[in-house]
């Protein structure tokens, strides 16, 4: 037994393991959880301060010490290795960014489709068709997934990008609405819901023909599908009025539309099933 100066407590050898076990038990039974939280909160600021005070200095001095010992050739090798690593990290970063963007687009797409109770199949654009001069793309689902001719292909919040024009077992061809041969029945979102036919222009933009001459349309009016085409539901976004071409004496007016997508930006699309 040992006396402790300034204390009346007298401890025997078995106090040591007893106290120790009490603490360990207290930790694993979570009885001491509040105490631990408090201790952590109290200690962390002090630790952070001390760590910050020394860490930067230590890092720099460690790094300097390492580099001071290297020869010129070793430094050049190290430089080469770091350059390679940087390249690899840039590639990885780009891949991750692309994956993130695709994931966000897909989430948006799925949310829209589920909200509108559409049956759909998500797919990825694998290539651009080489057979046509006009823009068509190839997606990696086909008849086996229920895809058939004439089905609409959408992205994001129901933006119509094309129509299925050829179906194989595991792949399909999609003709983009900007294609010269593309025709879609549409309405302008104005007071009279002016009807018309949207076709591709220069394989880049869209034109809406056969809009009644007397209907009032304005710049930035949105244009939607009207549901007149087989398999294409009403309300899919097509584009926005960018220019109005009305010739006096003509029965119809024409509008140049700006599509809501760019061909080189779409990677994941959804095909609406009947």
């Amino acid at each position: 037994m040992w006396g402790d100066r300034g204390h009346h407590q007298r401890i025997t050898w078995w106090h040591v393991p007893a106290v120790c076990m009490l603490f360990v038990l207290g930790h694993y039974t979570r009885v001491l959880q509040p105490v631990e939280n408090l201790l952590t909160r109290v200690i962390q600021p002090a630790q952070a301060m001390m760590y910050a005070a020394t860490h930067d200095e230590v890092l720099v001095s460690d790094q300097q010490a390492v580099y001071e010992e290297l020869t010129k050739q070793e430094l050049l090798d190290e430089y080469g290795r770091l350059e390679q690593r940087l390249q690899q990290l840039l590639i990885d970063n780009t891949r991750l960014r692309t994956a993130l963007e695709e994931s966000q687009l897909l989430q948006e797409q799925v949310a829209f489709l589920q909200e509108n109770h559409y049956r759909f199949v998500n797919t990825r654009i694998t290539s651009v068709s080489t057979e046509n001069i006009s823009p068509t793309v190839i997606v990696n689902v086909g008849a086996q997934a229920g895809v058939s001719l004439g089905l609409p292909v959408v992205i994001a919040d129901g933006v119509l990008v094309g129509i299925v024009t050829d179906v194989q077992e595991y792949a399909s061809e999609v003709r983009l609405i900007t294609n010269l041969d593309s025709r879609v029945s549409a309405v302008v979102q104005n007071s009279t819901q002016s009807p018309g036919i949207v076709r591709g222009e220069h394989n880049l933009s869209l034109v809406m023909d056969f809009i009644p001459q007397l209907d009032q349309i304005a710049l930035h009016d949105s244009v939607f599908t009207n549901g007149a085409d087989t398999h294409i539901p009403q309300g899919l976004l097509i584009g926005q009025v960018q220019e109005i071409r009305a010739e006096p004496g003509s029965l119809f007016q024409q509008a140049a539309l700006k599509p809501f997508f760019q061909q080189n930006e779409i990677t994941i699309v959804s095909i609406l099933l009947p």
Partner: protein, 173 residues
């Protein structure tokens, strides 16, 4: 009231000691491996005849070290307590006087026991559970050797200082 304030001061001092050990010493490569502040403080308190304080510092220090270490909880706490227990047992049953060689040997054994307990604890955890706490044994053993030396030197200095104070006090009386 005085006792309460004294306890608070010890408590804060221990927390400060652990903070220094965890933050400051761990980042300064020069000091980190060669000294274990919590163990050393506990052993020094045993040497100067304050076993209650040694236990207090050891338990609280080990407890906080366990909270912040990546190892299973209890490894540091148990190791430090075993080390204190061994130190006290040796003091009472084997090295009954405070001769320099006795204190040096006692400190050597206690520090070695601390390291041995710690390594054994980690080893047992790896064997008994699916855990895989890898520790570089050779490196740790080397550091343990250096730590023992430093702890012994500190202990010897303290004993010398106590002896000097006692002698000086006796002369002045």
């Amino acid at each position: 009231m005085k006792d309460f304030i004294r306890e608070c001061i010890w408590f804060i001092a221990t927390l400060l000691l652990v903070s220094i050990h965890l933050s400051l010493l761990q980042t300064l490569l020069l000091f980190s491996p060669i000294i274990h502040l919590v163990v050393l403080a506990s052993l020094v308190l045993c040497i100067v005849g304050r076993p209650y304080r040694a236990l207090e510092v050891g338990v609280l220090g080990g407890y906080v070290l366990d909270l912040f270490s990546g190892f299973p909880f209890g490894i540091f706490l148990i190791s430090i307590c075993i080390s204190i227990g061994v130190m006290l047992m040796l003091q009472i049953y084997v090295f009954k006087n405070k001769a320099l060689h006795a204190v040096a040997l006692n400190t050597t054994i206690a520090t070695a026991v601390f390291h041995l307990s710690w390594i054994t604890g980690v080893f047992l955890m790896n064997q008994l559970s699916a855990a895989d706490y890898s520790i570089p044994y050779q490196h740790v053993l080397t550091l343990a050797g250096i730590q023992i030396l430093v702890h012994v030197v500190v202990a010897a200095l303290i004993v010398t200082l106590i002896d000097w104070i006692n002698a000086h006090g006796a002369k002045s009386v």
